[in-house]
């Protein structure tokens, strides 16, 4: 009785006896090592995997589902050892050798990361998963950030949908490796393939069950979306709950508070971006400027969120649902914009540093992006 190990080759699951798995693993490791100077290493390895998948498939049938160790050995003997330099008997020009050397140095410096959607272990379309892999973060944190963005600013959902459409999905092993910025060595291929396979089988006994789950999920989602489409106005247009009308006198105060918070946020951000300090207070060493800016933004959102809700309650208590209520809302929004605009104008007028900072904003944005990149790369 032999233990069986399931692996993924070219997108299909194959079951190998443990001895066969070790043979295959050694073969691919040796191949990866011998091709280390080859700029096409990853591609050749995935080609080899594909070829092996075909050979294994030819061996299996409805009554035979496991590839035996001996069969793996036969297949590997058929494939032959991977040759490092094809056509070595051909005279290579010195320039040629130099080019290969440079390419090898480049590839050993680590693969550039690419943003992909990763479906393995994804909740929806794999956008958060992909971002987490790109920045080397916990996917749950990224999801939380998206949820917060959706709650406080409503932009998270929009960004998610756009990214789900725009960002390509990582399908091939190379793409999956590129998504995490890892060189896809054979060991890594096998580990990841196994992990992905078990992840899927843990939840679903078979393909049919998985499809059924997907169908049910989509149906529920559609029902929810349909309900939302028809009833999203209800909280606003339905009969207003009864509030003390005196609440409405707080409206201007709340607007002012929100306006001040906004101005404080904008000024703090500008100060951060322009000087790297919060009005002269230096940041702790390990906090980069962009992170501080993000935190300030988050704090602003958390502060302003309840204020906005309170403002909304004030409109309600005004007792003018429908068109009149909207008018009041528009009027208040206009006042709010005026206050913010005026305060900003004054700030710009009286603080030359702010004026300069606004002038330098495009350059700063570029620098900030570069900073983020280098910070994540060094991490």
């Amino acid at each position: 009785m032999n233990k069986v190990i399931t692996i993924n080759l070219g997108g299909n699951a194959y079951q190998l006896e443990e001895g066969g798995y070790d043979l295959l693993s050694n073969y691919l490791d040796a191949a990866a090592a011998r091709l280390h100077a080859n700029p096409d290493r990853d591609e050749i390895l995935s080609d080899i995997e594909g070829a092996m998948a075909e050979k294994f498939r030819a061996l299996l049938g409805s009554h035979k589902t496991v590839v035996a160790t001996k069969e793996v050995a036969t297949v590997l003997a058929e494939m032959g050892p991977i040759e490092a330099e094809p056509g070595t008997s051909q005279p290579g020009t010195p320039g040629d050798v130099g080019a290969t050397g440079a390419a090898a140095a480049e590839s050993s410096n680590g693969k550039p990361r690419r943003l992909y959607r990763i479906n393995e272990g994804a909740m929806l379309a794999g956008v958060c998963n992909g971002i987490a892999a790109y920045f080397n973060l916990d996917p749950t944190l990224v999801r939380l950030a998206f949820v917060l963005l959706t709650i406080f600013w409503g932009t998270g959902l929009l960004v998610y949908v756009v990214m789900a459409i725009v960002v390509p999905e990582a399908c091939s092993p190379e793409e999956k490796a590129a998504a995490a910025g890892l060189p896809p060595t054979a060991q890594e291929f096998i580990r990841r393939a196994k992990a992905g396979y078990y992840e899927a089988t843990k939840n679903f006994p078979d393909r049919k069950a998985s499809r059924e789950w997907g169908r049910r999920f989509r149906r529920k989602w559609r029902a929810y979306a349909g309900h939302w489409r028809h009833h999203w106005r209800d909280p606003w247009t339905g009969p207003a709950p009864v509030f003390d009308p005196r609440l409405s006198y707080w409206l201007p105060v709340l607007s002012l508070l929100v306006g001040m918070a906004t101005v404080a946020w904008i000024c703090t951000s500008i100060s951060l971006l322009a000087t790297g300090t919060v009005f002269g207070q230096t940041l702790p060493d390990n906090v980069p400027v962009w992170l501080a800016a993000a935190l300030v933004f988050l704090t602003y959102g958390i502060l302003v969120g309840p204020l906005k809700v309170a403002r909304h309650l004030c409109y309600k208590s005004w007792g003018h649902p429908g068109a009149a209520g909207s008018l009041v809302f528009l009027l208040d929004a206009a006042i709010w914009f005026l206050v913010v605009g005026a305060l900003l104008g004054l700030a710009l007028h009286y603080f030359p540093t702010l004026r300069e900072a606004v002038h330098n904003l495009p350059a700063l944005a570029h620098q900030a992006i570069d900073d983020i990149r280098t910070w994540w790369n060094t991490k």
Binding site: G10, L35, D40, I44, M79, E85, S89
Partner: protein
């Protein structure tokens, strides 16, 4: 003493690229087709040699590939020659016939 077969192993290796060009020139093929065509000749080879060779040739822009679905297993790469590859094949064929001429002519009275 080395047999003729062994003596020519390096030359066969060098000629492989030329033969692969010729096979791909005839029709779009994938690796198993190439191996099958070579298997009955003196140039029989294995995936371990062919894949690195093909990727090198693609890097030199002699050939290109397209993905095609297959009923059995993962999608396959079907290779075809580029314009540069065809030009290289033409040059090599010319050179090869010159070599043949030389081999025949030399030492003949």
């Amino acid at each position: 003493m080395l047999s003729v077969n062994e003596k020519f192993s390096a030359i066969r290796k060098g000629l492989l690229e030329f033969l692969v060009l010729q096979i791909i020139a005839a029709e779009k093929v994938y690796v198993a087709d190439i191996l099958k065509q070579l298997s009955t000749t003196q140039f029989a080879t294995q995936e371990g040699t062919l894949y690195p060779l093909l990727s090198k040739m693609r890097r030199e822009e002699l050939l290109d590939y397209e993905w095609r679905e297959s009923e059995a297993g993962p999608p396959r790469k079907y290779y075809k020659l580029t314009a540069k590859g065809r030009e290289q094949l033409r040059e090599t064929l010319e050179y090869w016939s010159e070599i043949n001429e030389t081999v025949k002519k030399l030492g003949q009275p």
